[in-house]
Symmetry: C2
């Protein structure tokens, strides 16, 4: 995906705070091309800058247009968003459904995602100018999403579709089977030595311990900690072992 080829278009926004929040959402998801069509006169730009939070550059480079066509004239796909259903809103898709198509299209040309007024959405005339109509999934009891929240979901689905994000990776390498088995062997020895279990129940108890420690992959760091605990417990039980040997029934 070419992130520079995605334009977010806000038609008739009423609140500067929403415009600023939309900038921040765009920036979070790697987008920067914002167009605004006939914003409210005296749109509160102080509020917009307050909410933009490290994305003021988007606000400052925002283009302002007198009608929707002017804002989308160089685009080959225009997606109109709508919470309402009915006339001209047939064939609606979800952001997740359309994201792959948009990411491919941006390799060669510009695409626009268009959001309507906070109170009234897009007009039928504006919607007919779009190549695709988009419904954001919501629960039926409250389908009215805040403008900047709607922008976020669309940008987020585009960003996730690029599959570039990798969540935090484990810093320590995953333990091999051999490391795990050495560790379990050590625990078996220690648990016997400290008198936690007897030899005749040892296999059964070790199944339990393995179950607890096998809910996911153990890292090499995890194995080191577990080895350390077993070693220390064995060492600390030196006294216990002596007492036990001395006092055990003859």
């Amino acid at each position: 995906m070419n992130f520079d080829n995605v334009r977010i278009v806000l038609v008739g926004p009423l609140y500067g705070g929403n415009v600023g929040s939309a900038c921040r959402a765009m920036c979070n998801m790697g987008l920067s091309d914002l167009a605004v069509v006939t914003p409210r006169e005296n749109l509160d730009m102080d509020e917009a800058h307050k909410m933009a939070c490290h994305s003021d550059h988007i606000l400052e480079n925002m283009t302002v247009h007198e009608d929707l066509l002017s804002a989308i004239k160089d685009c080959t796909i225009t997606v109109g968003t709508s919470a309402r259903r009915g006339l001209y809103r047939q064939h609606a898709v979800t952001p997740r459904e359309i994201a792959p198509k948009l990411t491919v299209e941006t390799d060669n040309s510009k695409v626009a995602i268009v959001f309507g007024r906070e109170d009234n959405g897009l007009t039928n005339n504006e919607l007919t100018m779009c190549t695709d109509i988009l419904n954001i999934p919501t629960a039926t009891q409250n389908t009215s999403i805040n403008l900047s929240q709607a922008v976020l979901i669309c940008c987020y689905e585009l960003f996730v579709a690029t599959e570039t994000f990798e969540p935090q990776e484990e810093k320590s390498d995953i333990a091999t089977m051999e490391m795990r088995e050495i560790m379990f062997k050590k625990w078996r020895k220690t648990l016997l030595k400290i008198g936690f279990m007897h030899e005749d129940k040892a296999d059964h108890m070790m199944y339990g311990l393995r179950r607890i420690l096998s809910r996911g992959q153990l890292t090499q760091d995890d194995v080191k900690i577990l080895m350390g605990i077993a070693r220390q417990a064995e060492w600390a039980s030196g006294d216990y072992q002596t007492k036990y040997e001395t006092n055990k029934p003859k």
Copy 2:
């Protein structure tokens, strides 16, 4: 999924507007259980109500706690969110990855998703109290997501994972192959009659027309409109046909 078994926990929120926006986002996605841990003294509740927008009931039923454990004590999974990486943040997953696990868990018990302070996130101590750590995908240039936007993405992924949402469905039934063929036959006849094409080029032109009208399924309403246009063009060309027949070279 049992929506009543998902709790959103905000730790130390500073801005009432964010708490209100979080309520709206939760409501959009069908959730209603909000817990707040040590909110700022004099949290701006007017601002919270202003942003809650049709979700005031969530704000009014919000529980307030003195520490995180009190807010999550009845939960069996607690997911901590973190934008930062590093200590105690290993094994992080994305909201999309963890959503199926959470939706299944809610059938039997409560789960919590925990969000940190606007400025500092969750402390290491708070994160170690969580069973899972979550990273929300963002572009690297701006990883700091607004609190209510972060809440929205998590709630949205849970809601979408339930697969209950169906985008706007086409009201008209899809046209059958027979309807399509009758319509294309009518167009062929009309395009010949109005002199748009000659018989020797007719097949070629009809391939072009079929290509244009086969970018997706046609509905029965679509077919009716296309039939109507062909009929009307044929009727209106009555004069043309007469003129053409009269004046054609002998």
